[in-house]
């Protein structure tokens, strides 16, 4: 811890390595249903940002429309927030990041917001490896319109009204791996430990982090026959690896059996250790990752963990080769060419 406490002072609240208490990472009071998975995810985001010591005003919180997209209001009030229109979080985030790529950007979308109305923008964001954390709070239903299936609802799952879903689910993780995201994982809002480690690793990553977080809807999709319920997840959650995250500023030495652990050096010097639960699972092998996910659908397993990671691939910002400073605040002396530039253009047009 960076701060020291005077011997006689009453001990203050616990602070992180930049000296902020967790209170500074809190958001407004949630207006989502009690027990909604999304609230647990907001809590984990708060924990992860706090533990990683991210400066709150250096964060952009993005979202689209839907229950999930309300949640940026429930964490990190000190961060800049943009709640956009339905399905367009990817596009708005792209613009915001182009204007200021020095920020940490975290977006919260939903399964409807991403996998239906927002699919076009989502897949192109993946292709670009836009440096942001893109979280899908996935409950398989539209909550705000009272419980219609979304495109991530599993084949054969049942609505409260008894309607059976007869279309296959879109696996956003398989899609993200195929299309170019460089950190792809799935977690469960009820798995505090796994989700927190995944989020901390996500904060350390440079590139698109796509996290599909199963987040049960207690009102419309938590019944028998749902494959996105707490009960179903508790029974069918199959982690492919166990995450251990050691931040760059942590001074911890951990002994581990290298044959059982896949270690990833993150962009900021942190390290992500993935203990293999699925035999010989290699999270850098794209084709194997997609095949593993496809097979899990046939076995009715919900695989969780970090499926794919690539710390080498250039981000969209790298490809555009923009200056180090944020484009949005470059001074006029840089952005408006001098009169001589206009003079030379005019000379060339005189014919």
């Amino acid at each position: 811890m960076a701060t020291t406490t005077a011997p006689n002072a009453t001990p203050g609240p616990k602070v992180n390595h930049i000296g902020l208490p967790i209170l500074e990472y809190r958001g407004g009071k949630s207006t989502l249903c009690a027990g909604c998975g999304h609230n647990a995810i907001s809590e984990r985001i708060i924990d992860a940002m706090f533990e990683m010591g991210v400066e709150p005003e250096r964060v952009m919180k993005m979202s689209g429309i839907g229950c999930s997209s309300k949640s940026p209001a429930y964490f990190m009030n000190r961060a800049h927030a943009f709640n956009a229109v339905h399905g367009r979080m990817a596009a708005v985030s792209t613009g915001a990041i182009l204007a200021n790529h020095t920020m940490t950007t975290i977006g919260v979308s939903g399964d409807g917001d991403t996998a239906s109305i927002g699919m076009g923008g989502f897949v192109h964001m993946l292709r670009r490896n836009l440096p942001m954390i893109y979280i899908i709070e996935n409950n398989g239903v539209y909550g705000l319109t009272k419980g219609q299936f979304s495109a991530t609802a599993d084949l054969g799952s049942k609505l409260k009204t008894g309607v059976i879903n007869d279309l296959p689910a879109i696996d956003t993780c398989a899609l993200a791996i195929q299309l170019g995201a460089t950190f792809v994982g799935r977690s469960f809002s009820g798995d505090k430990k796994q989700l927190l480690s995944m989020l901390k690793a996500a904060i350390s990553h440079k590139g698109t982090v796509m996290l599909d977080v199963i987040s049960p809807c207690v009102t419309f999709n938590d019944h028998e026959g749902s494959t996105k319920s707490y009960k179903f997840m508790q029974e069918n959650d199959e982690p492919i690896n166990e995450l251990g995250f050691v931040a760059s500023f942590d001074d911890i030495e951990v002994d581990y059996d290298s044959g059982q652990v896949y270690e990833v050096e993150m962009h900021d010097g942190s390290s992500l250790r993935l203990r293999k639960l699925l035999e010989d699972y290699d999270p850098t092998d794209k084709a194997n990752a997609v095949r593993t996910l496809m097979e899990s659908h046939d076995n009715n397993e919900i695989l969780t963990g970090v499926f794919y990671i690539n710390t080498e691939k250039p981000t969209f910002i790298d490809l555009l080769n923009v200056v180090d400073e944020p484009l949005g605040t470059l001074p006029e002396s840089v952005t408006r060419p001098p009169k001589s530039a206009l003079d030379s253009l005019m000379a060339s047009l005189r014919s």
Partner: protein
């Protein structure tokens, strides 16, 4: 021209075969799309310009890559008229499919220059024919067969130059300019021009009655298309983020912008002070523009009608959440896909109210390439000052055709980045309310992401919000914010470019128009004065919301003719919504909406009919 509505011959009575017509006629080059005639046409146009004669060019092309007919009409006008004119006196017929009709469309006494095997003489005996063996001439000077199609175009430049008495030296220097630094290409092309010129000089004993004679009316002028001028405006606005989706006729706005950015905005270390993103669709393009505008960038997109439709939802977000961004709309013929390569002014109403709910937008309406440049950079200042999307409406005619212009002037004022609070400001103020009208101008102060202060952030949303950017469904908070937005829009009347009174005298009759309608209308006003003895007044509108001067202009006339290029009298409708009730009945419309640029004669005739002249 094959298009029947061009009503050729309307003005043909003015000359006979014997009369000398100097610097006042049109040349219609009829070719096949994809034949590469564009640079030859450009050389011809610039040669006339080089002779000091006012000139304009209109490319009437199909929505097609190759094979369909295309016409390029060059108008030389000693009086400086640059609008489309019905009918061309000189035809260059190179398209077998349209040659017959093109010939039939010539006025009596006209000239047909054509590929000799088309045998056009069979169709008319009242025009002058100049048959040219283009293929033979081309083969003789261009050994490489695959280049002949392109080189052939330069042969007709030479033939036309000789027949119309255009100085070969002027053509040569124009070509040299066009192919600067490519000596071989120049040699080949000028060889073709010269071969055509020499052929005509040797073979044709009969002179055409049409002459280009030297004048000094183009000194100090430039030639540029509106899209390139918009790109230049964006460059000198210091644009930093460009997000777009290709669509005719706006594509070259972004292509021009990108070329300029690469030329002038790459740092010594090779890094770019800009980002250009070809988005997946127009939804994403405008989304990126708003995301970037929110985070402090000067951001823009360029599109046309179908793209505007897709941008509707986001435009409402930009209006309501008060986010700057610039949208260039190069209008084409709608509805739906319409005629993508034809011009119209039919997006005005949909742009003015683009999006659901009580949404309205600031629109700039450039009426020349110079204003494309000036409004191009002013739009960014206005967007940041007013914290709202600003639309720049041009059209295909202005955007994709070459226009003469006075040189552009360097901006005299620094960039206006609008009301943005810094960390130091926040320290002093102890906080801020994003949407509170603290200055009485109905514009709040904003912060940018990354402002290093614990009180810097706010929550941007398209849902109901109060002046502290908090979520609200409270009736009074909602209406207070909507009323402030209305006041802001009202104030914008004074900030946008004001109208230009071309003439505001004592006439009882006044005209209102915007954009490219101006060129034809000014010519028509001369007709009306000459032919009907009526010296009407005219004010050109340059922005929405309408400045108060426009209200005054309407009030001081008995009858106001609103001339525009759309079916539904969109400008007149917008004016009717804005004017006091007792003024509305003064408005009447002159409308043109066939996809071709409006011409003066059509305006004159419709006006005369409506006035009972």
């Amino acid at each position: 021209m094959a298009t029947g509505d061009l009503a050729l011959g309307q003005e043909q009575g003015a000359f006979t075969a014997q009369k000398r017509i100097v610097n006042d006629f049109s040349i219609n080059v009829a070719t096949v799309n994809g034949s590469g005639s564009q640079s030859a046409n450009s050389v011809l146009l610039k040669s006339i310009f080089g002779m000091g004669v006012p000139v304009s060019g209109k490319n009437l092309f199909p929505s097609n890559i190759a094979g369909l007919p295309t016409w390029f009409v060059i108008r030389a006008s000693k009086d400086g008229y640059v609008a489309r004119k019905c009918g061309a006196e000189v035809l260059v017929a190179l398209n077998p499919d349209t040659a017959r009709q093109d010939t039939l469309d010539l006025p009596t006494g006209g000239v047909a220059i054509y590929e000799e095997n088309l045998n056009l003489k069979q169709y008319r005996d009242d025009v002058i024919f100049f048959p040219v063996p283009f293929d033979k001439i081309t083969a003789a000077i261009c050994p490489e067969a695959k280049l002949r199609k392109l080189v052939k175009n330069m042969v007709y430049v030479g033939v036309v130059a000789q027949i119309l008495s255009i100085d070969l030296g002027v053509v040569e220097s124009g070509l040299r300019n066009q192919f600067a630094k490519k000596q071989k290409v120049f040699d080949l092309n000028f060889g073709a021009v010269k071969a055509g010129f020499d052929y005509a000089a040797e073979k044709f004993t009969q002179k055409a009655p049409f002459f280009i004679e030297r004048m000094d009316k183009t000194a100090g002028k430039i030639i540029i298309d509106g899209n390139a001028a918009c790109g230049m405006g964006a460059l000198f606005a210091g644009v930093t983020v460009v997000a777009w989706y290709p669509i005719t006729p706006s594509t070259s706005v972004v292509e021009a912008t990108t070329d300029l950015l690469k030329k002038f905005r790459v740092m010594p270390d090779g890094k770019a002070s800009f980002a250009v993103v070809q988005a997946e669709d127009e939804l994403a393009a405008i989304g990126m523009v708003l995301g970037a505008g929110w985070a402090g960038a000067r951001s823009m997109t360029a599109t046309s009608g179908p793209g505007i439709s897709l941008m509707a939802e986001f435009s409402g977000l930009g209006y309501y959440a008060e986010i700057p961004g610039v949208i260039f709309d190069v209008q084409r013929t709608g509805p739906s896909t319409g005629m993508p390569t034809r011009t119209q002014q039919s997006d005005l109403l949909s742009v003015a109210f683009l999006s659901h709910g009580d949404t309205k937008h600031v629109i700039l309406l450039p009426g020349s390439v110079k204003e494309c440049f000036e409004f191009g950079y002013a739009a960014f200042d206005l967007a940041e000052r007013l914290q709202t999307p600003v639309f720049v409406l041009t059209d295909l005619d202005l955007g994709m055709n070459n226009w003469m212009s006075d040189e552009f002037e360097y901006p005299t004022t620094p960039l206006d980045r609008g009301k943005v609070l810094t960390a130091a400001d926040l320290e002093k103020l102890g906080g801020f309310a994003r949407y509170r009208d603290v200055d009485g101008d109905a514009i709040g102060w904003r912060t940018l992401p990354g402002t290093k202060h614990p009180k810097a952030s706010y929550f941007t949303r398209g849902s109901g919000h109060n002046d502290a950017a908090g979520y609200t469904e409270k009736p009074d908070e909602y209406t207070a914010l909507m009323d402030r937005l209305a006041r802001k829009f009202e104030n914008a009347r004074k900030l946008v470019p004001g109208p230009v009174a071309f003439k505001d005298g004592t006439s009882k009759v006044g005209f209102l128009a915007y954009g490219t309608t101006d060129f034809a209308l000014r010519e028509s006003l001369d007709h009306i004065k000459k032919e009907h003895g009526l010296d009407a007044d005219y004010m050109r509108i340059r922005a929405y919301p309408f400045a108060h001067e426009i209200h005054d202009f309407v009030a001081s006339h008995d009858r106001i003719y609103v001339v525009e290029q759309d079916r539904d009298a969109q400008l007149a409708s917008l004016l009717k919504l804005d004017l006091p009730a007792d003024q509305v009945s003064k408005l009447r419309s002159v409308l043109h909406y066939n996809g071709l640029p409006i011409d003066a004669r059509s305006i004159t005739e419709e006006f005369a009919t409506k006035e009972g002249l």
